[in-house]
């Protein structure tokens, strides 16, 4: 048996003492508490229970923060087995804040690095419980010997196969109290809209540089292939310039830009490390290829790095909540790289195939959204279909014709819109998000 958090849903009343205890113990400002309370059914649907989770870091067996951190800034401590974050190794890329389903790592603007619950290791060493468990007034949160196992799915609690070191005691009574209050059909609509307002942790406003970065990756991939096979004149200035620009863009959001080099240290596990490594290799070998005698072998290596980078870009986003049943997204950078390549390479057949695949993926996604009542932004979706699919079909060149410029521009606009939508729709699991998803699911069950 190992030690870990024990949390009893029957006992927690959402009093926040654990949050304050943590703040006092760890001497922090109140801006970004490490521990948070999330409430199920906060608007009190009469037919559903209200309960709370108090969660910080669960120091998971297979910790997704450590797994995904490109800079190897998380380590597992020997002995007490906490997942420790090393501030001096952190580059402030925030990828762990996407990867952790418990919202444990917090990015602090003022320090430029992430911080999180330490399990009060300094207390554990003195044989004391973490402050939160020590001061829980009802005994709902404890730290003790637990059975660490994959949790069965309890409403509102995420277990994505990371084996969190927490044992959750389920509600004895799965319903709220019996009461006379009814809820009308009209009110259910209001209830639903009020209950589904959990803000996404990923927003276009914050991540717009990633739209540009990822599209440049796709563009340069296609551009290099076209240049290498001489479909297009290869300009090292354009290639190098865009390459430097994109690297610059991708480091804009780093809290610690001078430590950016650390981003490639976790090739073994992190798709982010792989993306950065492959992309850097792609850019540097691409330049080498131009200035050295242009050997095909080197050229093939460049292409390999480029597509590996594009593949990695797509994989970086595996941490998002899958919104449909298909793993592929219409704005996949891998597909877009192929698309650009086919456009520059004047291979209209491949262009048609990729556009077709993208169209199918896009419409499938929108229909899926429609069926599941997810919001659809028609201001983007309709132009995306018109400019990105319909107009290109109308302008589609004959087999032997060179690719018309306006054709390419329209496809480019469509791609841009799709990528923007990708970030608008992007969302990750947090305790609050999980609660929202499960709540809406339960609501569907009781209303149907």
């Amino acid at each position: 048996m190992d030690k870990g958090f024990f949390f009893d849903l029957n006992k927690c009343v959402g009093c926040h003492a654990c949050v304050v205890a943590c703040e006092i113990e760890n001497g922090r400002e109140q801006h970004q508490p490490w521990r948070a309370i999330s409430t199920f059914n906060a608007f009190q649907h009469p037919d559903l229970p209200v309960f709370h989770y108090s969660l910080a870091c669960n120091h998971c067996e297979d910790a997704p923060c450590a797994h995904n951190c490109p800079a190897v800034a998380f380590i597992r401590e020997e002995g007490i087995q906490t997942i420790k974050h090393l501030a001096d190794k952190c580059i402030g890329c925030k990828y762990c804040t996407w990867a952790c389903p418990y919202d444990a790592p917090k990015f602090i603007d003022t320090t430029g690095v992430v911080e999180k619950c330490t399990l009060c290791q300094h207390r554990l060493e003195e044989n004391k419980k973490p402050a939160c468990a020590n001061l829980c007034p009802t005994g709902a949160l404890d730290f003790r010997e637990i059975e660490i196992k994959e949790q069965s799915r309890i409403a509102g609690f995420t277990e994505i196969g990371v084996t969190p070191r927490i044992e959750v005691m389920e509600l004895r009574q799965k319903k709220g109290p019996e009461m006379a209050k009814d809820i009308s059909k009209e009110e259910i609509k209001t209830y639903k809209s009020l209950s589904s307002k959990t803000a996404s942790k990923i927003t276009l406003k914050r991540e717009w540089v990633l739209v540009l970065f990822t599209l440049i990756v796709a563009f340069l991939n296609g551009y290099f292939v076209a240049g290498m096979f001489e479909y297009k004149e290869f300009s090292p200035w354009l290639f190098g310039g865009l390459g430097v620009l994109s690297l610059g863009l991708s480091s804009v959001h780093l809290g610690k830009k001078l430590k950016a080099w650390r981003a490639v240290l976790n090739i073994r596990n992190s798709w982010l490390s792989r993306e950065i490594l492959f992309y850097s290799l792609f850019l540097s070998t691409g330049m080498l290829w131009f200035f050295l005698p242009q050997t095909n072998y080197l050229g093939y290596a460049v292409i390999l790095f480029g597509y590996a980078a594009a593949w990695s870009v797509d994989k970086v986003y595996l941490v998002l909540i899958p919104k449909t049943r298909i793993g592929w997204h219409s704005s996949s950078i891998f597909l877009s790289s192929l698309l650009v390549m086919s456009l520059f390479g004047v291979d209209h057949l491949i262009t048609a195939i990729i556009l077709g695949i993208k169209f199918l993926l896009y419409t499938y996604r929108k229909i899926y959204f429609q069926m599941h009542a997810y919001p659809i932004n028609y201001w983007l979706s309709i132009p995306r279909i018109i400019f990105g699919f319909i107009v290109p079909v109308l302008l589609f060149p004959n087999y032997y014709e060179p690719t018309p410029l306006n054709f390419m521009i329209f496809i480019g606009i469509g791609e841009l819109m799709d990528r923007i939508e990708f970030y608008l729709e992007a969302d990750i699991i947090t305790p609050k998000k999980q609660i929202e998803l499960d709540l809406l699911q339960k609501l569907e069950n009781i209303t149907s």
């Binding site: 009093c15 003492a17 649907h45 005994g139 009461m179 209001t190």
Partner: protein, 686 residues
């Protein structure tokens, strides 16, 4: 680092013991104190906030004097006391000591508080307050019925098989009670909650009954009638220990489930269910809150609720009690509550005039011969917390001189001419009891007073000096400055009880001498008949109410009857505050940054209001503007605006309440309060 055992002196059931870590003159951390069986696990966020509160940058550390522009300037103690003493001298000579009003409330409990009254007695008297803002209607109801205010030890709830929380929300106001309720539930106990709101405490309940506010007595009487009709009563217990059963049974015959349902708006099936449970599941602990008795029918309501425990024989047994107030640890009080709230029956010549806590504003304005000229406020925030804020403010502003002893610039402090910095709980030794757990607790001095702060006992000592009293005279009334003198006085108090040891109190709380773990286990009742009095002649004589528990409709203002103000205002407490304390601290503000109202989805829809908008709550006494939250479980027709918000923070619910006394005990009937709400112009989300 030093660790001290201490206890929280707030006006709160729990009265937690805790351990405080002090390092280099600062409170740095807090630990639970397992020596208190009622609060073994930990203290709430308010208690934890002491780490901030003790050293808050918002604290008042020096005497302050109001300047011409309405702000405050720092003055020396000499200047402040000079001005106050001159004022007192002048008023005494020209208008008599009764032109000064001495107002103290429940901000901090402790034996040292008693010295304040002694000071005013020493200088020749003052107008004082009678009554209380909180709970005396219920205390009086229980006093009349059972003869004493006590209940089983808090942890005894674990033994109950049926628990009824009636208008009580311990998850927010008495958090450790949830430990024992949960223990009982884990062993299969049934929990019923009666509350127009769906509170956190009702989440694990089996049944939530939501009566119209103010109709609780009717619900109780309706259930009592069913119990009697069905024979679900403890006839043997009634025969031996209850006085007035026949009269009571006869008087409530008309309360059929149908009629009860009409009055209370509780479905008949729930009334029957509750009666069945009370009749069949024993032992039962019935824990009423204090909100219900802050109606004009409050005392009669608590008497009515009591009948359910009495008829079912749930008094004086493990797991069975009426869990209202447990005054068994108040061993040092010379006059017990609720009697301590009565005006002096044979007026002390020095305190021959007292005014009503409930009607503070109007009473202050109405005093003649002499008119009130000065007020001294300590441990209280009457501008925010007494009913009818607008009238209270008017009365305050009519005075010539206002002194407020405070830790923070509250709404009341803002009205002061002179603010004197008040000590906090760590800066003077004291002894406190609890109205829930049975412990006597020592709260030692662990910090030197911050800045130029002086404990009230020292303020009074210095003021007496300024007024020309000789030290030898002062000593008869007040302790001399220095905590060692306080300790000595407390040591003498403790010596009166051989079971207690002052030095051991420094380590652990002690169960009060004579505590009955199971209250009334001896089945002795300190009433005129020596029995539990369903029929109480005293009720009629002392308060002019019916000898029997009755349902009396609450007062509707005329405008409410005409449906101008159709909604009932509820102003319950939250976990974030003790009345108007704590809300200004950053620790609390992170969870409760601004006030808001809660209304039902249907009341909102009827008025075109949506969640997050700004609304106005108003009646003929006042109005306030606030954000609104929609809720799908609160009883339709109720508006919640939580107790304790300051005017500075957006407005107190007392802008809407009226100063009325309860039917007994000189309590305050805040809750006979009807309002209307409307969307505020430009009331967009913001």
């Amino acid at each position: 680092m030093a660790i001290f055992s201490t206890a929280c002196p707030r006006n709160c059931y729990s009265t937690c013991s805790f351990k405080v870590h002090v390092e280099q003159g600062r409170v740095v951390n807090i630990d639970p104190h397992s020596g208190n069986k009622a609060t073994p696990e930990g203290i709430c966020i308010k208690g934890l906030s002491y780490v901030e509160r003790a050293h808050s940058s918002k604290r008042i550390l020096y005497p302050l004097r109001k300047n011409k522009s309405g702000g405050f300037d720092q003055v020396t103690w000499v200047e402040a006391l000079e001005e106050i003493s001159e004022k007192i001298r002048y008023l005494k000579e020209n208008f008599g000591p009764h032109s000064i009003l001495y107002y103290a409330a429940s901000g901090m409990s402790g034996l040292n508080n008693g010295y304040s009254g002694k000071f005013w007695e020493m200088i020749g008297g003052a107008t004082t307050m009678y009554g209380n803002l909180c709970w005396p209607a219920g205390l009086e109801a229980i006093q009349l019925t059972l003869g004493d205010n006590k209940h089983n030890d808090p942890w005894d709830i674990e033994n109950a098989k049926l628990i009824i929380l009636w208008g009580k929300n311990p998850a927010e106001t008495n958090i450790q009670q949830m430990i024992f309720i949960e223990q009982a539930q884990a062993k299969g106990a049934k929990l019923i909650v009666v509350d127009p709101r769906r509170t956190q405490s009702s989440e694990r309940a089996d049944l939530l009954i939501q009566p119209r506010p103010g109709t609780d007595a009717a619900l109780a009487i309706g259930i009592a009638n069913l119990l009697i009709q069905q024979g679900w009563i403890d006839a043997d217990f009634i025969k031996k220990y209850v006085f007035g059963f026949e009269e009571f049974a006869k008087s409530i015959e008309q309360y059929s489930p149908k009629k009860t349902s009409e009055i209370t708006d509780v479905p008949v099936k729930f009334i029957e269910q509750m009666a069945y449970d009370i009749g069949h599941i024993h032992p039962m602990t019935l824990a009423p809150g204090y909100g219900m008795q802050r109606f004009t029918n409050g005392g009669q309501t608590i008497r009515s609720l009591l009948t359910l425990s009495i008829l079912s024989g749930n008094i004086g047994k493990p797991g069975a009690c009426f869990h209202y107030a447990n005054l068994q640890s108040y061993i040092f009080d010379s006059v017990k509550e609720p009697m301590s709230y009565y005006p002096e029956i044979e007026p002390n010549p020095k305190f021959r005039r007292s005014i009503s806590m409930a009607k503070l504003g109007t009473d202050m304005l109405e005093q003649m011969d002499p008119e009130l000229k000065m007020i001294w406020v300590e441990r209280g925030n009457p501008v925010t917390q007494n009913p009818d804020t607008n009238t209270v403010l008017k009365a305050f502003r009519k005075l010539d001189f206002r002194v407020v002893v405070e830790q923070f610039i509250t709404d009341t402090a803002q009205e002061a001419d002179i603010i004197l910095p008040a000590k906090n709980m760590f800066e003077q030794t004291d002894i406190i009891g609890s109205y829930w757990n049975p412990y006597v607790q020592l709260k030692p001095k662990v910090l030197d007073p911050a800045g130029e702060v002086k404990p009230e006992t020292e303020i009074y000592y210095l003021l007496a000096k300024k007024l020309g009293f000789a030290t030898s005279e002062i000593e008869k009334y007040l302790p001399l400055p220095g905590d060692e003198n306080i300790v000595e006085k407390l040591r003498q108090e403790v010596k009166k009880f051989p079971e207690l040891d002052f030095d051991k109190l420094r380590e652990n709380p002690a169960i009060a001498p004579g505590n009955q773990s199971i209250a009334f286990a001896d089945l002795k009742f300190n009433t005129p008949t020596g029995k539990i009095e369903l029929y109480s002649e005293q009720a009629k004589i002392k308060w002019g109410v019916n000898q029997l528990p009755t349902f009396e409709p609450i007062i509707m203002d005329e405008s409410a009857q005409k449906n101008k103000y159709p909604l009932q205002l509820m102003s319950p407490n939250t976990k974030n505050r003790i009345h108007s304390q704590f809300g200004n601290l950053e620790v609390i503000r992170q969870f409760a940054p601004e006030p808001y109202a809660v209304i039902s989805a249907s009341d909102a829809a009827a008025r075109g209001i949506s969640d997050g908008q700004k609304i106005k709550i108003f009646n003929n006494r006042g109005e306030l503007t606030t954000k609104v939250k929609i809720n799908f479980s609160i009883k339709t027709g109720c508006v919640v605006y939580y107790n304790g918000w300051w005017m500075q923070e957006g407005g107190t619910p007392n802008l809407l309440t009226k100063g009325r006394e309860t039917d007994m005990g000189y309590g305050t009937a805040f809750h006979d309060c009807f309002v209307e709400i409307s969307l505020e112009k430009g009331g967009d989300r913001g």
